[in-house]
């Protein structure tokens, strides 16, 4: 979209900004073209030390784009054509990538978890300092200090993955502030937070600003920030005026009752606690009902029950549609047109698209749409399926006021068609403006969402083998496993397998039962190897009926089986004593693998922690969408779910990559707060392994 008017010049309000030194950031003539569209044209911006700049503008005017240019994400990590000059303290920095700009600048985005990649909060804060090459001796004190300043001291010894969204955002903010940046860029940091967390985060931001930090803020919930004490010095308006006021909502005309249900003892999962003890739900056609309440009070749980999802589905929920928070989880087809026609009357969906002016989106792949467009398409698709009742989980989360207004207009439209809308929302203003009924779930004792046990296991780090260097263990395991491939001796190898297996419970501090369970597949495999080899190898027959078993076959089978068992035993010893994060740290410090690979692996570990929940959400979303589909269709839908998981994971990965660069990961140089060193234990391991290997080799030579 091109703009013919130059943007409104900056209007100064409030306190006098400091003016003596060179500005922290000054940008001239910023022009951005992305995907062939002109987004920004000739923007100038100057921020002096301690100044707070607010960027305003309607949807699509390029607020986030401008921040991304300041941060260096455009054009260094994301594609765009950028013109203009950016200077920091008089020096031009336009050509410097985000990692270099991180020395004086930090950034906080919408998604709290986007930049967090360590296991423990303390390590996360320390990482910011390690990447800025702080002296390890000073790191501990600064971590305690910044935690106290931002009020997250109680969170210091908790796992990042267990924190709520609001807590994660506070940690991300503390991590951004730890390195004492001169400028902080804030891209809608409150938009995904519930009101309580938003207040906590706003207070930290306001206090940092009053301590002298310069800020460039894009935030449509600016009033929350102002209420916490933030004073805006300058406003930059990218649009041609103030955002349009929300259209007044016409009166609703409630019709007959479409649902009268009593929900009792609703749980999140079959083995979980009751989240909603009892709730009366009476829905009339042509009304909007809002579910409000803090995180954990059961809003999403009620919606899921309403939609007929396990474990406590509401009876008669075949006629309920549900639009999930992440609308793209529900897309089953490759075009918007196909999406609104899926298991629906083809014409009603397309008619709705045309009526709302979205007809030009029809041929596009739904995953390429913006968040607001995706929500509306998902809503239309659910409506086109003819559902009388439509549930929505946080319909305006993460949207700016323009997109938010579009979604609420659509909700009113559907309401006037005679449907019953039920939505859960944090947005008090939305609830009071649109809802005919507000159900407040706060009186219930909230049950916070706990992290589900996922595929990742925790390893006891204090066992004897656990304290050895993971890189060393890997090297030994690889060398011995490969060496074992060179032999088919039976007795010495079987002996080694037995010895190692017996040592595992002691060396790894695990119960023998656990070891056996892990080892069972190897035993079964070995048995199969013996059988297959005995029966399929030529030679002198041992048994002729009912199948031919040969001597050579049996001998070979036993040898191969022994080898499998030995390699398996070493494998079990390795696996039970080596955990993910410790392994990666060792790769970086002891195997000297470059830092970007190691952080890639850490990112993978973090991602793996969240994939369990993501997969369940996607499966639920697609189940609700495809209710009534046949067997074959369900099979295809599983594949579509896998695809959606890839899309979600790849997006997360890109966000994490940008965030890590903005924290300083790029030059490759860093310090280590906790240095890993080789110890005497490692020497013992090497000596013992070498001795055992030598004995085995000798035994193979001596014994036939």
């Amino acid at each position: 979209m091109s703009r013919t008017q130059p943007p409104t010049t900056m209007a100064a309000t409030g306190t006098i900004p400091a003016a003596s030194a060179a500005p922290v950031l000054s940008a001239h003539g910023i022009r951005v073209v992305r995907d062939g569209l002109l987004i920004l044209d000739g923007i100038d911006l100057e921020v002096t030390a301690g100044e707070v700049v607010l960027i305003r503008g309607a949807s699509g005017t390029g607020k986030s784009t401008l921040l991304n240019v300041m941060a260096g994400i455009l054009p260094h990590t994301q594609d765009a054509e950028v013109w203009g000059q950016i200077c920091h303290a008089g020096e031009p920095v336009t050509a410097s990538p985000p990692a270099r700009r991180s020395r004086w600048m930090g950034m906080l985005t919408q998604d709290p978890a986007a930049g967090l990649c360590m296991q423990m909060v303390r390590d996360e804060l320390a990482l910011s300092l390690e990447l800025r090459e702080w002296d390890p001796a000073d790191i501990g004190a600064r971590v305690t200090d910044i935690a106290a300043t931002t009020g997250i001291t109680p969170l210091l010894d908790r796992r990042v993955g267990d924190l709520s969204g609001g807590e994660q955002q506070r940690v991300a903010l503390a991590a951004a502030l730890a390195g004492r940046p001169q400028l902080l860029l804030l891209d809608e940091p409150l938009s995904m937070l519930d009101p309580r967390s938003a207040v906590a985060v706003s207070r930290i931001i306001a206090r940092s600003a009053s301590d002298g930090l310069a800020l460039i803020v894009v935030e449509h919930r600016i009033d929350d920030l102002r209420r916490s004490g933030l004073v805006v010095d300058t406003e930059l308006n990218l649009g041609s005026g103030p955002p349009p006021a929300a259209r007044p909502v016409p009166e609703s005309h409630p019709g007959r009752i479409v649902l009268n249900a009593h929900l009792e003892g609703v749980r999140r999962s079959p083995d979980g606690p009751t989240v909603v003890p009892g709730l009366e739900l009476c829905l009339h056609a042509g009304t909007i009902t809002a579910l409000v309440g803090p995180n954990g009070s059961g809003k999403t749980t009620v919606l899921r029950a309403l939609a007929g999802l396990p474990p406590d589905p509401v009876a008669g929920s075949g006629k309920v549609g549900l639009v999930f928070q992440r609308a793209s989880d529900q897309f089953l087809t490759t075009s918007v047109e196909a999406e609104v026609s899926y298991r629906a009357d083809r014409h009603s969906g397309r008619a709705m698209l045309t009526r709302l002016g979205l007809a030009d989106l029809e041929p596009r792949n739904p995953h390429t749409l913006s968040l607001g467009q995706q929500r509306r398409v998902a809503l239309i698709a659910a409506a086109a399926q003819g559902h009388q009742i439509i549930g929505l989980d946080e319909p305006t989360l993460g949207l700016d006021s323009g997109a938010s207004g579009d979604v609420s207009d659509l909700l009113v439209d559907l309401r006037d068609q005679g449907r019953a809308i039920v939505m859960s929302t944090h947005d008090q203003e939305l609830a009071s403006r649109l809802a005919d009924n507000i159900i407040d779930l706060s009186p219930h004792d909230g049950v916070p969402t706990t992290s589900r046990p996922g595929p990742l296991r925790r390893v006891t780090p204090d066992c004897p083998l656990g304290r050895c260097s993971p890189s060393l263990k890997l090297a030994i395991a690889l060398v011995t496993s490969l060496a074992l491939l060179a032999t088919t001796a039976i007795v010495p190898i079987a002996a080694i397998a037995l010895i190692v297996l017996c040592l595992v419970p002691l060396l790894c501090h695990v119960r023998p039962a656990h070891v056996s369970r892990l080892y069972l597949p190897a035993l079964g495999f070995a048995l199969g190897v013996i059988v297959i080899n005995s029966v399929t190898r030529p030679g002198t027959p041992l048994i002729s009926e009912p199948v031919t078993v040969t001597v050579q076959g049996l001998e070979m089978g036993l040898g191969l089986a022994a080898r499998t068992l030995a390699i398996g035993a070493i494998a079990v010893a390795f696996v039970l004593s080596t955990g993910g994060p410790q392994f990666v740290a060792s790769l970086e410090q002891q195997a000297h693998i470059p830092i970007r690979y190691c952080f890639g692996l850490l990112a993978g570990y973090r991602l793996l922690e969240t994939l369990g929940r993501e997969w369940d959400t996607i499966r639920d979303a697609q189940q609700v969408r495809s209710r009534g589909a046949g067997r074959l269709a369900r099979g295809r839908i599983v594949l579509v779910s896998v695809f959606c998981l890839f899309v979600v994971a790849l997006r997360r990965g890109q966000q994490l990559s940008d965030a890590l660069e903005l924290r300083g990961l790029g030059s490759g140089r860093r310090t280590f707060w906790h240095r890993l060193r080789y110890t005497r234990r490692d020497l013992v391991l090497v000596v013992v392994s070498a001795a055992l290997s030598l004995l085995t080799v000798l035994a193979c030579q001596i014994l036939p």
């Binding site: 203009g84 690889l478 190897a522 398996g568 494998a571 993978g604």
Partner: protein
């Protein structure tokens, strides 16, 4: 506030790293490996009794299912379009399997991964990382099948068994179908979804 900008003012595009893997590319490869690792774990959980029963049958069933393991490398190469992406994907998948998920097959999977990665990437390397049609994916699946078959022969002692020929045929079919066709379909769908826009696959 000049509405017209001159070309001299343009921020130079970052020089594309010739042959190197930057953080963004590495994380994209890791994401692919992690998601596949997770899917396999899900399948494993769904069929726990089968996996124990698979023990004795495992020696045979290996050749049928092995194609699924070949998916990570070609998808990674498609997304990142740089040498080494396939090998990295398989190595990371091994780390995910062995260290993160605790697969008791153990460190030897690193060697398996390396071999599979080299086999998968060969087809892409030979064409200079410029071609990404179905034939190349099929060739990649075949390459991975052949190389991993050779290593497995050494590892499990398949040479000399009367089944040898059957195993080879089954593994090749599995590798080409799963590692080739399935990988190609996934890559096409990902490209159309727009999620690869800021990665090398989206720029070409």
């Amino acid at each position: 506030m000049n509405p017209v900008s001159n070309e001299d003012d343009r921020t130079p595009q970052p020089v594309a790293r010739a042959g190197g893997l930057g953080l963004k590319e590495i994380i994209a490869v890791v994401v692919v490996a992690v998601v596949f690792g997770f899917i396999f774990w899900v399948m494993d959980q769904a069929w726990t009794s089968l996996s124990v029963a698979m023990g004795p049958l495992g020696d045979l069933a290996q050749n049928v299912l092995i194609g699924v393991w070949f998916l990570a490398a070609p998808v990674a190469v498609f997304i990142v379009r740089r040498p080494g992406a396939g090998i990295l994907a398989e190595l990371v998948a091994s780390v995910v399997e062995v260290v993160f998920l605790g697969n008791p097959v153990g460190p030897i999977l690193f060697v398996v991964g390396l071999v599979q990665g080299i086999g998968s990437e060969a087809a892409f390397a030979v064409t200079g990382y410029r071609r990404y049609g179905l034939p190349i994916f099929l060739a990649s699946g075949a390459g991975a099948s052949l190389l991993s078959f050779a290593f497995s022969t050494l590892r499990f002692g398949w040479w000399g068994q009367s089944l040898f020929g059957v195993r080879l045929v089954v593994q090749m079919c599995s590798g080409i179908l799963l590692g080739g066709v399935a990988a190609w379909l996934l890559c096409r769908a990902l490209a159309r979804s727009g999620v690869l826009r800021d990665l090398p696959a989206g720029r070409q």
